[in-house]
Amino acid sequence: MSANVAAAAKAAPSSDGTPAISVKDLRKCFGDHEVLKGISLEAHKGDVISILGSSGSGKSTMLRCINLLETPDSGEVRVDGELIKMRRGRDGHQVPADIRQVERIRANLAMVFQSFNLWSHMTVLENLVAAPTHVLKRPRAECLEQAEALLKRVGIWERRNYYPPHMSGGQQQRAAIARALAMNPKVMLFDEPTSALDPELVGEVLRVMRSLAEEGRTMLVVTHEMGFARDVSSKVMFLHKGEVDSVGEPKEMFARPPTPQFKQFIANFNK
């Protein structure tokens, strides 16, 4: 095991084919309920993977296990080849062995949340520079410059001095995406980014996400947006009752659903 860890720590960057994210046999229970029953996943640089599934299928939990917001009961997570080290806690459950490693890896995996989770006591601009200056320790002036450019890109530069509670959901989510981009992350994790939005605001967020996909960002997207999954992502993964039911190329998956469960799932959406 320790030899593995050392090898993983020395792993070369992803250009040689090392997956940006590699998840193996992930398991997680909440009490008696087994939410993840051995999930595996690989994402290479530039992949945009849409993770679909009905509610309770474990898709959000899986995403949250990747950046250790939830601690998996077993299985391994590698980011750019580096294994997140775990150990047995006193109660027998797994806990991160090295919280510094987890914090360092999290800074490479920027997450966008369903309920935005912008820091409400900071202006939009402050939200964008907080983690880059304090976590990545980059110079503030440089972070501010980048933040303004990102806000222009997502179209809310004129709102840069607003506090999040004063903005619409769509604007908040675009600010949150800009906050994620400000980390220059290796992989972006989207946890149902449009589910809390009013229908007329979904489009503006999806447009930003589509442009990120087009510039080759590596993205894992838990979503209910079938259009995004089919047209934008490079791979679709369908979870059913805590297991990977099917994985495949989106056009193929939607044209010829490989399993009855997935067929049923998209049929429910088309109703």
């Binding site: 914090e103 999290r106 920027a110 997450m111 949340f113 989770n117 912008l118 409400s120 907080a130 304090h134």
Partner: protein
């Protein structure tokens, strides 16, 4: 008519008494009351945040200490705690000093009255502040704390950048209440001999036999102190919650 001339007499007596030196003494009393309150609030803020943190600890022992602290110091009469710290403190100090030979076996080492007083009032204030901080922490949107974790912030960074500013914002109204309680509790430490407003009014009343005058005056001065603090806390609240009120 007789009533009016009587009142006139009263006012001129009051004026004479205040000019004779009691006025200055009362002003000093106010200064000491404010000093006791401010120092007690600060002691209370430190203890209160530690106790609130203990209540959220994963360790059962720390949680128990936190719970016991707020239960005991909110549940006991303030005066009892002040006696306990002042007289009990004197007994402990004397015992220690005697056993180390710093004083002879018949001497007494008194608890310094200001120190004993502010410790007692600060500890009580801390119990109330702990509850204010605890409530404020619970009111922080969980998702914001989660975002701080997800962006790689260490526990200290999360506390400094996300928890503390929001706890302070949410705590301002509650702290305004505790400030008023603490001003009133400061009157109780007159029993330890700190010449704050209550003790000064008491002295004046007894030595001049004008109880009605001096207690009324002291009452008005306490009311002035507590009511001046209300708009100050309101202003602080408006400032700290500016991100939640519409921009003008």
């Amino acid at each position: 008519m007789e009533f009016l001339s009587d009142l006139k007499d009263q006012v001129s007596t009051a004026y004479e008494l205040l000019a004779a030196g009691w006025g200055v003494q009362l002003l000093w009393g106010i200064a000491w009351t404010l000093a006791v309150t401010v120092v007690s609030m600060l002691i209370g803020a430190i203890l209160g945040s530690l106790v609130a943190a203990a209540k959220f600890s994963h360790r059962g022992g720390l949680r128990f200490i936190g719970e016991s602290y707020t239960t005991v110091f909110r549940g006991e009469p303030e005066l009892l705690i002040i006696y306990l710290f002042y007289y009990g403190g004197t007994q402990v100090l004397t015992g220690v000093a005697r056993s180390t030979g710093s004083i002879s076996s018949t001497d007494i080492l008194n608890m310094p009255s200001f120190l004993g007083g502010v410790l007692a009032v600060g500890i009580i204030s801390g119990a109330y502040q702990a509850e204010v901080f605890r409530g404020s922490f619970l009111a922080i949107h969980r998702g914001e704390l989660e975002a701080a974790r997800a962006y790689g912030m260490s526990a200290w960074l999360r506390f400094r950048l996300v928890v503390m500013p929001q706890v302070l914002r949410l705590a301002v109204p509650g702290l305004g209440n505790v400030w008023q309680l603490t001003i009133k509790d400061s009157a109780l430490i007159s029993v330890t001999g700190v010449a704050e407003l209550m003790l000064t009014a008491n002295k004046a009343a007894r030595s001049t036999h004008h109880s009605l005058l001096f207690y009324t005056l002291a009452g008005i001065l306490y009311l002035v102190m507590t009511s001046i603090s209300t708009p100050i806390f309101d202003k602080a609240e408006r400032y700290t919650s500016r991100s939640f009120t519409r921009p003008k």
